[in-house]
């Protein structure tokens, strides 16, 4: 379908599965505010800022109803001022200073995951590293035993299948049963830790008192959100990032030679491949945006990956450049709902790229394999990333 045709252009028409750069180019070429069934799509950073910094009109309250959580998704489905209360309570747990002490333990766990791989000469980066490490980080952060890892992976996959924002919601009995098991597990955990001091985030959340005290339902809702928002997003960002590094050996060599570039690489790879590239809001009243009149109840979706390719903000926006300096990408969102876990996510990604390239500087995508993206769905990631690992000096 050419850009000039008048027939409706839909979300499913985007070629995200095989060529996501082409998909974002296609949608950007249609303009800054585009009818993209079933939503209005924003592809321009200034329009996203204008909308997302006006939460009274561009509301989150019903925007996540399709996630099918049994409890209100604290705090993403809340607008100010309620939202600010949760943010105030939660932010200190996710601050850089709170996160930093996790680094040595997480680095140790990563080295343990990655070190055995070179002997195999091949691996699936998604299955072997990207999908397990964020779960371990979550368990470590919450003070849960690491042997719960595979159980959590199964639960997480089930609730994500039940909550796909694109609407393709599973009605599979096993998924429903798994989601129920997670709910039961979290309920029992919350009951057991309530009022019992401990160094982990969950215990600290449950020990809050006075105005900050959270009910059991609020804490379980939060745990669901952490599982929904904090696991696959990191997995997907890592899979995309490693695919770009595998395809661009010159850029990869830069971080092998100079690990101090890894933080800039994390930002640049996130700019190119946000794992949550479609962020929805629903208008509470008729409003104007980008020359369009939007009736109340319009679903407006920020196309983050398209916004991140704005030529005015990024010279050579489709290129990978670890020396951009400022990289004000929108991959963690824009406005008051900006990702609560951004500092933790950044730490996880930095550690993976650092440890991987320290231990395995030479790798390539398995011959004949074409990575494909899980699509259509609300969050995107690679199904698999088979790599061949070439022997070479580890640092």
């Amino acid at each position: 379908m050419s850009a000039g045709e008048a027939q409706p252009f839909t979300f499913e028409d985007l070629p995200v599965r095989d060529d996501r750069d082409a998909a974002w180019r296609l949608i950007r070429e249609r303009g800054g505010i585009v009818q993209l069934e079933p939503d209005i799509a924003l592809t321009d950073h200034a329009l996203v800022e204008a909308a997302f910094r006006n939460p009274a009109v561009f509301s989150s309250r019903q925007a996540f109803d399709s996630l099918g959580s049994p409890l209100p998704l604290v705090p993403i489905a809340f607008d100010p001022p309620e939202h600010a209360r949760y943010r105030h309570i939660l932010q200190p747990f996710f601050s850089p200073r709170s996160i930093r002490p996790l680094e040595p333990e997480l680095r140790r766990q990563l080295a343990e995951l990655i070190a055995p791989l070179p002997a195999r000469r091949e691996c699936d980066f998604v299955a072997d590293v990207a999908s397990v490490f964020p779960v371990q980080a979550f368990l470590t952060f919450f003070g849960l035993p690491l042997d719960m890892r595979d159980q959590f992976v199964a639960w997480k996959d089930a609730i994500l299948a039940l909550s796909d924002p694109s609407g393709a919601i599973s009605t599979d009995e096993a998924d429903l049963r798994h989601a129920g098991e997670l709910f039961t597990y979290l309920s029992e955990l919350v009951a057991a830790r309530r009022g019992v001091p401990g160094p982990d985030v969950l215990s600290e959340l449950l020990c809050l008192d006075g105005d900050d005290a959270l009910t059991d339902a609020e804490v379980i809702g939060l745990c669901f959100l952490f599982v929904l928002a904090g696991l696959d997003t990191v997995t997907d960002a890592l899979g995309f990032g490693m695919e770009r590094l595998a395809r661009n050996p010159d850029r990869r060599q830069e971080i092998v030679d100079d690990p101090a570039l890894v933080p800039a690489a994390v930002e640049e790879l996130l700019r190119l491949d946000p794992p949550a590239p479609f962020v929805p809001r629903i208008t509470t009243a008729a409003t104007e945006l980008g020359g369009r009149t939007l009736p109340a109840g319009t679903r407006v979706t920020a196309y983050i990956a398209a916004c991140n390719r704005d030529e005015a903000r990024y010279p050579d926006p489709y290129g990978i450049d670890f020396h951009r300096g400022d990289n004000p990408h929108a991959s963690f969102g824009v406005g008051v709902h900006r990702c609560l876990g951004s500092h933790l996510a950044r730490l996880e990604m930095r550690l993976v790229y650092e440890e991987w390239h320290r231990l395995i500087p030479h790798y390539d995508i398995a011959p004949g394999f074409a990575p494909t993206v899980k699509f259509p769905r609300g969050t995107v990631g690679l199904e698999a990333l088979p790599l061949v690992l070439t022997p070479g000096a580890a640092r």
């Binding site: 910094r53 932010q91 200190p92």
Partner: protein, 74 residues
Amino acid sequence: MRVTIDRDLCVGHGLCYMLAPDVFHDDDEGYGQVTDDGPVAADRVEGARRAAGSCPERAITLITATATATATAD
């Protein structure tokens, strides 16, 4: 130019001290703090402006000699 953070509005996104670490720092709970109450050095003004424009809560105010304005995006 001077710069202030409204503690009632700040919820600790942490963009200011990431974007302009020579103007802002984080406190124990991750909230942004202005490191020096005095005038912002000329070579730090751009960073302060960028941080103010990026603050998701619009909690940062730039105070110039002639006018006071809560920064708007970009």
